[in-house]
Amino acid sequence: MKCRKIHKKLHLYLEKSLNAKDYQEVQEHLDSCHTCTQLYHLVENTLNSFDNLPREELDAFFYTRLEQKLNISDSKTPFIELIYQPLLKPAMVIALSITLTGFGIFAGNWMGKILVQDEAIVDKTETNIELLAEDLFVVDEPENSLESFFINE
């Protein structure tokens, strides 16, 4: 059997899932071919190494570093997030209500003052027109009308 054929069957040989005839052929080739034997051992050793992987561990100061990161991230909490924190939320709602109420009162007062000023201007204007009309004899009263003036004449 040629090396290329062995390579295709090597994974099945390692799994021991080849039929007896193929298994025998691969075995015979491995006994006679040094390079294919090396290949077989490299693959087998690497696969076996997964069963004895070193138990990698973090150093003893991991928690200290994590704690520092926690403190930093806490102090860097954006303002918008603070608003939504459970303790601050009711306080923010109360403060917002007071501000809105105050603004409402102020706006009401301001609008009221503007209306009073407008009424005063209207009253003044009406008075002026009446005075002018009196001066020009155009006051629409029956006793002062032009018709009664001529009739009386």
Binding site: L10, T46, E56, E57, L58
Partner: protein, 192 residues
């Protein structure tokens, strides 16, 4: 202290309880991240991120679930996302990718003439293993890493991956098969 009590204590702000949780699980989480990312600094960053997320969202934890399952899921998601990001970064930053197979082959190109034991030097072996693991489909890689790096049982893996035990067995079988094929290809290029 039961797991439920531990969660309650962390929720109430008990820093000692949180420290206990970190010390208990940090190495398990680190090994999974390392198995997926093959990079110690990245794996440590992921482990930190996992515990930061746990600390911030402990209120969202469903108490009927196991905390280890929750930790593993966060670690796997974060590691897979970072691995994707790293892969994209490598593709974007190098016009001619010198990672993976090409990188390994470049390092080992002159080993044919050297003693074959040189190939099995720890660092080179790690690179080859990392390359072969990265070639596995996502779920096969996760199951394999959980089983081999953290020695989790198929039952534990099935809980973490939310699938049946037989599905995990199947994933492991296919992972081994694919690894053997990839390893054969890598070593064949070195030897022949």
């Amino acid at each position: 202290m039961t797991e439920k009590q531990l969660i309650e204590s962390i929720y109430k702000g008990d820093s000692e309880a949180f420290k206990y949780l970190v010390e208990k699980y940090k190495d398990f989480i680190y090994r999974v991240a390392l198995g997926i990312l093959h990079h110690k600094e990245d794996a440590e960053d992921i482990t930190q991120d996992v515990f930061l997320e746990v600390y911030k969202s402990i209120a969202d934890f469903r108490k009927e679930a196991q905390i280890s399952t929750w930790l593993y899921r966060i670690a796997i998601n974060k590691s897979i996302n970072l691995a994707k990001k790293n892969k994209r970064k490598v593709i974007l930053t190098s016009a001619e990718s010198n990672t993976g197979m090409q990188h390994i082959m470049a390092n080992l190109s002159d080993t044919k003439s050297k003693n074959i034991e040189m190939i099995m030097e720890e660092e080179e072996r790690k690179k080859i293993v990392a390359h072969c693991l990265d070639k596995l489909p996502k779920n096969q890689k996760i199951a394999f890493v959980l089983h081999k790096f953290d020695q989790l049982t198929y039952i534990e893996i099935s809980t973490i991956m939310d699938m049946s035990v037989s599905a995990v067995e199947s994933l492991m079988h296919r992972a081994k098969k694919n690894l053997t094929k990839t390893l054969t290809e890598v070593y064949k290029k070195i030897l022949f």
